[in-house]
Symmetry: D2
Subunit: 429 residues, 4 copies
C-alpha cells in the first residue's frame, strides 16, 4: 500500500496531537482501536488506507513541539501516562512536517515563519488545548474596510498569494514524502465571526487544499468551504469534501434522543442545554458569534428529528478549570399521553480530544478513499460525523449510520461505484 | 366500521384507567393524541380500527369503580384535573364490562365473584396504582407440592375449568356488545415468581384469551404465554400475539443509547441503573423474583445493542412516596480513544401510566388488525414496544421502528399480506 | 389576639394566592404546616401572631379573582386538587381587599382603578404565575429624561402623590378591618432594570409602606427600599424592614454547599449554574438587567461562603413550558488533595410558589412581632430567608439559622428585648 | 519539634500511599494544602505537630512497594503525573517501616512474614486500590466454633499473643525512630462481617494500638475498638480515640442537606441513593454485611438531622471499571407547602483516596496533640470527620464544625485544657 497524507490545519492542537499519537499507539498495538469507527467490520472491505499508511503534517502558528504537547495532554489525563514517550519518534516525524500558519496582516504565509516570539505570530493567551492555525481577526483598519470587495470571488483573488503559499506547503509535503494523495482536515480552534470584508482564515486554508488537489474536511464550525467566494473553486476542483462541525457530545446524544421522542409521538416542549468547557474551544466559543455557529448545528438536529423547534436555549460557557473536559447538561420537558409533563436530563462528561481524534482518522481515511474512487463534491453520506452536514442528509444517527454503511459498501473494491443509487453521497468526477 | 373489543387484565389499574379515560378524551377532541404511535402518518393506511370503535372491558379483583380511580389519578397528577368528570359516562360504560378476576384457592373464577370484602378477593395492601387481576401466589400447601405435575400440559389441564370460566367472560362480552373481534391485553401488576407447581395466574388469563379466540398482548414481565404448558395451545390457536414487558422508560432510553455507543465504537465499561417507583409496580418489583424478570429484559437490550455485557447492575426500589411517578438514573462509563474514561448519566422522570396507556391502545389496534388480516403466531415486528420481544427482532429502537413501519405497510389494504417478506413478523394462519 | 394585616404587593400572583389559600388550609387543619419555618418549636415562645389572626389584602394591576387564580394553580399542580373550593370564602375575603396597583403614566394610583381592560392597566401578555403590581417601565419620553432630577430625594418628591394614594389604601385596610398593625410584603414580578430617571415602582410601594407606618419585606430582587431616595425616609420611620430576594432554591442549596467545601478546605474551581423557569418570573428574568440583580445575590453567597469567587456563570432561562416549576442545575468542579479534580452536580426541581408562600407567612409574622416589640431598621437576623440580606449577616445557612433562632428568643415575652446583644438584628426605636 | 509517628493499618493501600506521598509533596511545597482541614486558620494555634514532623510506618499483608503503588495511582489519575518520582525517597523511607500484617490461621503475626507468595498471605484477587492489613475471615473450622468463648474478654485473651506481636512492631518503630509518640490509624479495606467466634482483625489491631500506648483512629466501618472485648482495655488505657468511618462523599453531602431540609421545615418523603465504586472498597462492600455497616452510618445522619427516617435505600455497587473513583447519586423527594412534591438530585464524583488522605493527616495530628495534652477516651468533637462518630455528637456538619473549632481552641497552648466545658470531647486522663 502506498503512503497517504493527512494534513492538519491546527496541527499542534490537542485534537491533532491526540490523533497523531493515537494512530501511532494503535498501529503499534499499544492500545485497542476504541473510538475508531472505520475499524468496525462494516468497513473491512471498503478499501480504506490502513492506519499504518498515514503520514501526518500540517499548519500551525504555535511552535510547541508535538512531544511536549503530548506530555501536557498526559498531565491533564487526555493521553495515558507514558504514551508520549512510547510514540516519541512518530510525534517527532509529524512535527518535522508542520509549517507556519498564516497570520493576516503579518506579510507571512505558509512556509515563511515570522520571527519566533515576534509580535503577531503566536496568540498571547493561546490555550494549549486546541491548535491555532490562524489568528483571531481583529477589527479591520479603516483602509481595509474601504477596500472591502462586494464580489465574493474578488475576496479570494485578494488573498490568492497566501492561498498559493499554503498550497505549496501541502504539495511539497506530498512530493517529498512520496504520497499517493493527501487529505486536508481543519481541526483548528473555532474562528471568530467574520465581518465580511475579508475571507476568514479557515476559508483560505480550504482554498489552499483545493488548489493543492486535496480533498477537504472541516471538523470545526468555522466557515471553511462554506463561503460564496469558494463555491466556484469547489465545483471546478472535482474533489470530494465533507463537514461541518464534528458531532462529539451533546449533539451526538441529541441525534439519538430526538428520534426516540419522535418515534414514540412524545411531544417535546422544551430542550435546554448548557455546555461547560475549558481549553481553547471554550475561550473561542465565549465569543457569541462563534457560539452562534455551533448552536445552529445543535438546533438543526432537534428541528430535523423532532419536526418542531422546542422552547429552550443552549449556553456555551468557557470554564478554564475544566481544561479539555467538557460537561454538557440537557434538560428535556416533554408531554406524554393527555399532556402529562415528564422530563429527561442527560449529563455528558467527555474529553473533547479523545472523542474527536479517532473521527479525524476515520474521516481522513474515508476522504482519501473517496478521492481514490474519483468521487467529488459534498459527501452527505458522512453526515454521521457532523452537526451540520453538507448536502441533503437525515438528522437521526441511525439513519446516518445506515447511509454511512451503504457508502462503505460502495467504496469497496467489489461494488462498482457507478451503480450507487442517488442520495448516498458524492457525485462522480 | 364495526366495534371491536379491548379486554384488559387488570382493568381497574392505573394503566387501564388511563387508557380508557384517555381514549375517550382523545376521541372527544379534549386532548391531542400525544403518545399514540398509531396516530402517526405511517399508520394512516394500515387499516387499523379507529379509536372510536374500541369498546373496553376486562378482569380485575378490585372493585373500585373506574370513575373513582380516575379521580384518584387526577389527584396524583396522572390525569388532568377535570378529565374524570368529562369522560364519566365512558368510564362507567367500561366499568360495567369488568368481571371479577381469578383468585387461586378461593374456588372463585371469572364471572363468579367472592363476597365483596371477603377474605382473599382483594389484596390487603393492594396499591391503587396498578390493576390486580390475580393474587400473588402464596407458598403452596404441602398437599399441592406433592401433586405438582411434571408434565407442563398437565398444569393447564388442572386449571382448565378456571380458564374456561375466564374465557366465557370474554366471549360473553364480544357477543353482548356485538363486536367484530376482541384483543386481550395484560396490564396487571407484575406477578411474583412462580414455584412451578401450578400455572402462574397470568398464564391462565393468556390461555383464556386463546380459548376465547382472541389475540393476546402481554404488556408486563409476567409469564403469560411464555409458559411451556401453553406452547401447544398457542400454536394450535392460529392467533397472533405479542409481548413481553412494555418499554416505557429506562429501557426505551437504552434502546437508543446502546446503538449510539456501538456505532461510534465507544467501549462501554459499565452501565449501572436504579429505578425508583411507587405504585403497585414498585411493591411488586420489590420482590426479587419479579425484579429479575424485568431486569432480564433491560439487560438483553444492552447485550444485543452493545455486543457485550458491561459491568453494573440495575436496582428497582419501591418508594411509595413517588406514587405513579418513576425516576430512573443510569450511569454509563465508557472508554474513548486510547482508553480515556468518560461518562454519561441520564435521569428519566416519567409517569408510568401516561407512558404505558397510549401504547396499550396502539397494541390493541395493531393486534386487532393483524387478527383481521389472518396473521398468527408471534409478531416480532412489534418489538418496538417491548423490553423482551417475542421472536427474532433487533434490539435498537430505530431498527425496530423500521420493522414496525414496514409492518404497518403490510397491514394496509393495498399490500397483499401474502407478499410480505420474511422476518417482518407473524405467520399466516 | 387582635387581628393583624398582611398587605401583598402583587396580591393576585401565584405566590400571594398560594400564601392566602395555604394559610386558610393550614388553619382549617386541611394540611400540615410543611414549609412553615415559624411553626417549628424554636418559635413557639416568640410571641408571633397566630396564623388565624392574619388578614390579607394588597395591590395588583391584574383583576383575575383569587379563586380563579387558585383553580389555575391547581390545574398546574401547584395547589392540591380541590383546595380552591375548600377555602373559597377566605380567598374571596382577601380578594375584596385588593386595590388597583399603580401604573406609571396612566394617572392612576392606588384606590382609583383604570377602566377594566383599558389600555395600560393590565400587561398584554402577563403570565398568570406571578403577581404584577406595576408595569414594566418603558423608555422614558424625551421630556421625562430632561426633567430627571439628580438629587435622589427629589425623585421621591416627584411621585409623592402616588405614594400617598397607595399608602391611603393600606391605612384604609387597617382601619376598616380593625387591625392592630399590618406588614407590607413585596411578592410582585421582578421589575426591569431602571434607568434612574424615576423611582422604580417597587420603591414607590416601599415608600407607601413606610408612609402607612408598616414594616416592609422585599421578597423579590427589585429595588424596593434599596434606593438612595428612600434612605432618609427609612431611617426616620422607626420601622423594621427585611429583604431582599427570597432564597428558595439554587441559592438555598449554595448556602449549605458553599460552607461544606469551605470547612473541608476543598478548593472550588468553578461553579456554573442554569435556572430554567416559566411563569412570570421566567419572563421577567429573561431581561438581562433583572437577571443581573438576581445573580448578584447568588454570587454573593458563593463569595462569602467560599472566600473566593470561582469561575463560572449562572444562566436564567425563560422556559414557558415549565410554568411555575423551576429546575436549577449546578455543576461544581473542585480540587481535593494534590489537586485531584472532582465534581458535584445538583438538580433542584421545585415549585416556586410552594417554596415561597410559606416564607411569606413566616416573614409577615416575624416583622409584625418585631414591630410590636418596637424594633426598627434592617433586620439582618432574617438573612436566613434571603439571597441578598440587609445589614451584616453571615452567608452560610446554619449560621443564619443560629441567628434566626436567637432572634426568636429575643422576640419572646420572657427575654427583655433591651438585653439583646449586638449583631442579632434590628435597632430599637 | 520532636518527630511523631503515624502508624497506618493498611499501609500499602491507596489511601495510605496518597497520605504519605501527599504529606511529602505539601511539605516540599510541590502542592498547596488543599483538602487539609488542619491547615485552616482555626487550627493555627492548636499546637498540632507540623506536617514535617510526621514519620510514617504501618502494617500490611501486601508487599508491593509504596513507590510502585504511587505509580499505579498516578496512572489512574489519583496522584499527579510525576509526583511519585518527586517524593520517591519519602515513600521509600515509609516503605522500610511497614511490617507484615496479621493473617488468622497462618501462625504469622506482626514482624514475622509468611513466605512471599505463599498460600494465605495475600488475597488472590486483592484490589490494588485499598490496603489490606488482614485477610477476610473465612468460616471457622469446626474446632474453632466449639472453642468459641461466650465471654467477650476471653476472645481477646485467646489472641493476646498476636496482639502483643503487632504492638511490638509499633513500639519498635517509636523507639528506633526516636518518636515522641505515635498514633495508629486504620485505613485498611472494610472487613467482612464477623461471626462472633473470634475477634475481627480490625479489633486486634486496635488492641495492639492500645497495648503500644498509642491513640487510635478508625477511619473505616470495620469494628476496631467497637467490640465489647475491648471496652475494658480502652477505658483502662487512658488513651484518646476517634472514629468511625470517614465521611468523604455522599454522607458528607447528607450532613449539610439534611439540616437544610430540617431548617426550612421541608418534609423529606424519601431519600434514595446509589454508590458506584471500584477499587478494593467496592469489592469489600459488595459483601452485604460490610455494606450494612456502612449504610448504618449513612442512615444515622439522615435520622439525626431530619428527625425522621425517610423512605428509600442506599445501594453500594462494585463497579471495577471505576477504579478509585466513586460516583454517588442521591434522589430526595420532599414536600413543600400544602404537600407539593419536589425533588433534589445530587451526583458526587470523587476520588476516594484524594478525599480520605488529607483527613488521615488531620486526624493523626489532632490525636497526637490530644494525647500530648493528656486527653483520653472517645473524642466526639471529631464527629466532623466521621459517618458514625463515637460519643454524643451532633449530626449536622456545621454544628460538628463548631465543635471541632472549639476543640482546636482547647488544644491550644493558651487555653488550659482543664477549663474545657462539657460536651466538647474527651475526658482527661
Amino acid at each position: 500500500m502506498p503512503d497517504v497524507g493527512v494534513w492538519l490545519i491546527g496541527a499542534r492542537g490537542s485534537v491533532a496531537t491526540t490523533a497523531v499519537a493515537g494512530c501511532a499507539a494503535v498501529t503499534a498495538g499499544l492500545r485497542p482501536p476504541a473510538g475508531l469507527v472505520t475499524e468496525k467490520p462494516e468497513f473491512a472491505d471498503a478499501g480504506l488506507p490502513p492506519l499504518t499508511s498515514l503520514v501526518f503534517g500540517g499548519h500551525d502558528i504555535s511552535d510547541t513541539p508535538l512531544v511536549k504537547r503530548a506530555e501536557q495532554l498526559a498531565a491533564e489525563g487526555v493521553l495515558p501516562v507514558g504514551l508520549a514517550a512510547a510514540v516519541e519518534s512518530e510525534l517527532a516525524a509529524a512535527d518535522r512536517e508542520i509549517r507556519a500558519g498564516w497570520v493576516r496582516g503579518s506579510g507571512v504565509a505558509g512556509g515563511v515563519r515570522a520571527e519566533p516570539g515576534g509580535a503577531g505570530t503566536v496568540h498571547a493567551g493561546a490555550e494549549p488545548g486546541t491548535g491555532d492555525a490562524y489568528e483571531t481577526p481583529r477589527p479591520s483598519a479603516p483602509g481595509d474596510a474601504d477596500a472591502g470587495p462586494k464580489d465574493p470571488s474578488a475576496l479570494l483573488e485578494r488573498d490568492e498569494q497566501h492561498v498559493a503559499a499554503l498550497a505549496a506547503d501541502i504539495q511539497d509535503f506530498v512530493r517529498r514524502r512520496g504520497l499517493a494523495r493527501a487529505v486536508v482536515v481543519n481541526v483548528a480552534s473555532t474562528e471568530a465571526a467574520s465581518d465580511g470584508a475579508a475571507l476568514p482564515p479557515s476559508s483560505l486554508y480550504a482554498a489552499a487544499a483545493l488548489r493543492a488537489g486535496c480533498p477537504y474536511v472541516n471538523f470545526t464550525p468555522s466557515t471553511g468551504l462554506h463561503h460564496p467566494a469558494l463555491a466556484g473553486l469547489a465545483e471546478a476542483s472535482g474533489l470530494p469534501y465533507a463537514g461541518r462541525d464534528g458531532k462529539t457530545g451533546q449533539t451526538l446524544l441529541r441525534s439519538v434522543l430526538g428520534p426516540m421522542f419522535n418515534r414514540r409521538a412524545l411531544e417535546v416542549r422544551s430542550w435546554s442545554g448548557v455546555n461547560l468547557l475549558g481549553g481553547g474551544d471554550g475561550a473561542a466559543l465565549a465569543d457569541p458569534g462563534a457560539a452562534a455557529a455551533k448552536n445552529a448545528g445543535k438546533e438543526r438536529v432537534l428541528a430535523d428529528t423532532l419536526g418542531t423547534v422546542p422552547e429552550g436555549r443552549v449556553h456555551i460557557d468557557d470554564v478554564p478549570a475544566l481544561g479539555d473536559w467538557k460537561t454538557a447538561w440537557d434538560h428535556i420537558a416533554f408531554d406524554g399521553f393527555l399532556g402529562t409533563r415528564m422530563t429527561l436530563q442527560t449529563t455528558w462528561q467527555g474529553c473533547d480530544s479523545a472523542l474527536a481524534a479517532p473521527l479525524i482518522l476515520d474521516l481522513a481515511r474515508l476522504l482519501l478513499r473517496a478521492h481514490e474512487r474519483g468521487l467529488s463534491g459534498p459527501l452527505p453520506a458522512l453526515a454521521f460525523f457532523f452537526k451540520d452536514p453538507v448536502g441533503e442528509a437525515p438528522a437521526g444517527l441511525e439513519e446516518q449510520w445506515a447511509e454511512l454503511a451503504g457508502f462503505a459498501r460502495e467504496l469497496g473494491p467489489t461494488d462498482a461505484v457507478a451503480e450507487r443509487g442517488p442520495g448516498t453521497g458524492g457525485e462522480e468526477a
